[in-house]
Symmetry: C2
Subunit: 245 residues, 2 copies
DNA sequence: ACTTACATTTCGCAC
DNA sequence: GTGCGAAGTGTAAGT
């Protein structure tokens, strides 16, 4: 259902009907946007595409970027009204308290869309896949590596794969699906430190970062703390080609 | 410009015209989606909203979530074609090499939208704002704090605010606009360790994390490393109310 | 509701 | 182009 150059009243009726039906709404028109919540923002007049989803999500898109210029996450409540010659959408949520106000000077187009069909994506190449590759063939990490647990808890957080090397020394393995920087090195360092603390009096714990590649600075940080790096690609589960490193 | 229940041919012509004009395109219809690049995914048949932006961004939205189910970032190249009774969009980019394929069994609606007007958001409450509050009034961190530099480089990365306390001891201040977890504590720890390394032989360096609040685990990590915490709200630049902590 | 970490994160900025 | 960290990050899983 689409309206071209509708009156504000028409948009209001159709919006309420669409909410009722659980349709997704798209509005294109000249509007301002105000947001207040975790931060606060204002956006001056311009033509934008506004999307209202039946799950409570709201998106305001300009002609640039993948990220909406303003939005409201799912679970928000949308309300529509006509006031002061404007068609207005107010979207509110709690925890945290946030409001999004879109005020249309003119709505160029209104659509109510019945969105049906699958929304479950079949995705490959995640960190989870990389973990499965390693559990299927622990030698990928190193000869004699024995995985003992996944998501093994420490005081600093959960270790992706916890195990032992061929000499029975504890090993913390941290997985990343893409090239890693300093933060991943720091993360592994936290886990290894937590294990050493847990085991007490100078226990030996090794830390291995598994990822397609590392930046220089991350490599230096790993080095500083005696941590190791193993190059593996998340999709193939094999060492990446040199061109991919 | 909008077409309802157009033929694939009509959509193709209008799509090419819209690309030419630099319009934003919205398509609603029954389609499958395939993605291959940093990861890979497939999405079965269903009604979705597809948005093609003139900057090369592509978005595929279902009726749920704020995040598109599939997408392509700005800078991609969109191509349209009719083949095997389908209207197809292929969006490609390089570095990294990624392709997005949307195949429409039926296009229920096509729109070409001329998106004009401001897209610059005026946003308040960022980490940058918090920094300005502190530079305007360093006492917010602690009595006698003297900022000497922002983005001060270390071997582990840049320190948000570098300065000295009232006794001339070096202080690294890390800012966060929201409640912090273990990673922020680790980040500050990296910077402080880098400064100690840089200054050599047991030099004293203090680290202060400034944020609205901390999680328990993060507080424990700070404690472990002798790091400190100061509670400040990024918007007001003042200690947050108890209810906000 | 809160914590924790992943994400095809995206985005901006500096080198 | 790569590196690095912020973001109103969003999202899922566990507690």
């Amino acid at each position: 259902m689409t309206l071209s150059r509708p009156t504000h009243r028409e948009v209001l009726w159709q919006t309420e009907d669409a909410f009722e039906r659980g349709d997704m709404i798209t509005l294109f028109g000249r509007c301002t946007v105000e947001y207040d919540g975790r931060a606060a923002s204002t956006l001056g007049l311009g033509n934008r595409l506004v999307i209202l989803k039946p799950d409570g999500a709201a998106l305001v898109h300009t002609d640039e970027k993948r990220t909406p210029v303003n939005w409201q996450p799912p679970g928000s409540e949308h309300h529509a009204a006509v006031r002061d010659g404007q068609f207005r959408i107010r979207s509110e949520r709690t925890t945290p308290a946030e409001t999004l106000d879109v005020r249309f000077e003119a709505v160029h187009q209104f659509s109510a869309l019945s969105v049906t069909g699958g929304r479950d994506l079949d995705l490959q190449g995640s960190e989870e896949d990389l973990r499965q590759h390693i559990l299927d063939d622990p030698e990928l990490v190193e000869s004699g590596f024995l995985p003992l647990a996944t998501e093994r808890e420490t005081s600093a957080g959960p270790i992706d794969i916890y195990g032992e090397d061929d000499e029975g020394v504890a090993v913390a393995v941290e997985l990343k699906r893409r090239r890693v920087g300093p933060s991943a090195a720091g993360q592994l360092q936290r886990y290894v430190a937590a294990l050493r603390e847990e085991f007490g009096d100078g226990a030996t714990v090794r830390g291995i970062l598994v990822a397609p590649s590392v930046t220089d600075r991350a490599a230096a940080l790993l080095d500083q703390h005696g941590l190791e790096f193993v190059a593996l690609d998340p999709t193939t589960g094999r060492p990446p080609e040199k061109s991919e490193e």
